[in-house]
């Protein structure tokens, strides 16, 4: 481990991802892991994944819970609140401005054309982030179990069942089945 970040350094990193990483929370999760775990070594992979697991069982937007948890882990309330603000505000401001001008912008055929390509890229980003999330668990030992749990999540979601009880049930099953 290379040590803890300064509060300013942490907030700069969160702002960078909030302003420049598109594709939703799962893509940001992987991009943050690359920076915080692989490059900067502020957290171990286990610690980061532990925080991510907590964020997944927190109601609401997972990536905001994750950055709040990361901020809390390093700097308690100042880190949590400022981290949350850095992660939420840039996208919210941009989204509000786009909402204010959306009728004019989306009436433009070139903008609609651009968004076609952008939406395709976002699909690719999500596919990549799904692979990055599950690939560490596809070793020979746990492959079948991983695929079964993955299929449960996919099936439940496709059937339109509320994910909350399923997530809780998966957490309990994982807890009880640990060896």
């Amino acid at each position: 481990m290379a040590g803890s970040p300064t509060l300013g350094g942490l907030l700069r990193l969160l702002l960078k991802h909030a302003a420049f990483t598109v594709g939703g929370g799962s893509v940001t999760t992987i991009a943050l892991e690359r920076d915080i775990v692989d490059d900067l070594r502020w957290l171990s992979k286990d610690r980061y994944r532990g925080l991510y697991g907590l964020a997944r069982v927190t109601p609401g937007t997972n990536i905001l819970a994750l950055v709040t948890g990361i901020g809390w882990d390093f700097y308690r309330w100042p880190g949590a609140l400022l981290g949350l603000a850095c992660a939420a505000i840039p996208g919210a401001v941009l989204a509000t401005l786009l909402a204010a001008g959306y009728e004019q912008a989306y009436g433009n055929p070139m903008v609609r054309r651009f968004l076609l390509g952008a939406a395709a890229a976002v699909c690719g980003f999500i596919a990549a982030s799904i692979w990055k999330l599950i690939s560490p668990y596809l070793g020979a030992e746990g492959r079948v179990l991983t695929l079964v749990v993955f299929a449960v999540g996919l099936g439940v979601s496709l059937l339109g069942i509320s994910p909350f009880p399923v997530i809780v049930a998966l957490a309990v099953m994982g807890y009880l089945s640990a060896r």
Binding site: A92, R113, F114, A120, C123, G124, G153
Partner: protein, 170 residues
């Protein structure tokens, strides 16, 4: 003021009841489109589209919903509703504390992560059906996936490149 509080409370309920992607959508549609008629389906779709196009979480579309209902104050109410539930992780942190490193807790987290990837896959299937309507769009998606996995190019540049290619294709 009352309208803003209703907007905040409705959006907060929707975000509190969701754990991934757009699963907060049914609550918002029921309350604001069907029951109160404060926005219509066209505005709701626009909000989702904007949420997908901007950096940050896709859940940011609730900010747009707030804007469509009550202008800039509504957007602030949406932002607060989006951010408030994230603080619950601190409660979980305090409850679990150092037990995050316990093998049983780690295995529980493993199950949650893998199951969560399954939920994300369902979102991808839904988005893919509406977004990948031609072979070249599927190709762009595959290329974006490969670039994200194999390179360190920031996603915003990949997205801009995909948009530029789409503008050039007839």
């Amino acid at each position: 003021m009352t309208k803003l509080l209703v907007v905040y409370w409705t959006l907060l309920q929707s975000t509190l009841s969701s754990f991934s992607g757009l699963s907060s959508l049914p609550v918002i549609r029921h309350e604001l489109v069907v029951e109160r008629h404060w926005i219509d389906d066209k505005q709701l779709s626009a909000a989702v589209m904007i949420g997908r196009s901007t950096p940050g979480p896709m859940g940011v579309y609730v900010v747009c919903v707030g804007y469509f209902v009550a202008g800039y104050p509504g957007a602030v109410a949406g932002l607060l509703a989006l951010a408030t539930p994230a603080l619950l992780i601190i409660l979980l942190f305090r409850l679990l504390g150092d037990r995050v490193d316990d093998p049983r807790v780690k295995n529980a987290i493993r199950f949650v992560i893998i199951g969560g990837a399954g939920f994300s896959s369902a979102t991808l299937i839904g988005m893919g059906r509406s977004a990948l309507t031609a072979w070249w769009l599927a190709g762009l998606a595959a290329l974006a996936c490969g670039l994200l996995l194999r390179t360190r190019i920031a996603t915003i540049w990949i997205l801009a490149g995909a948009g530029a290619v789409a503008m050039m294709v007839n």
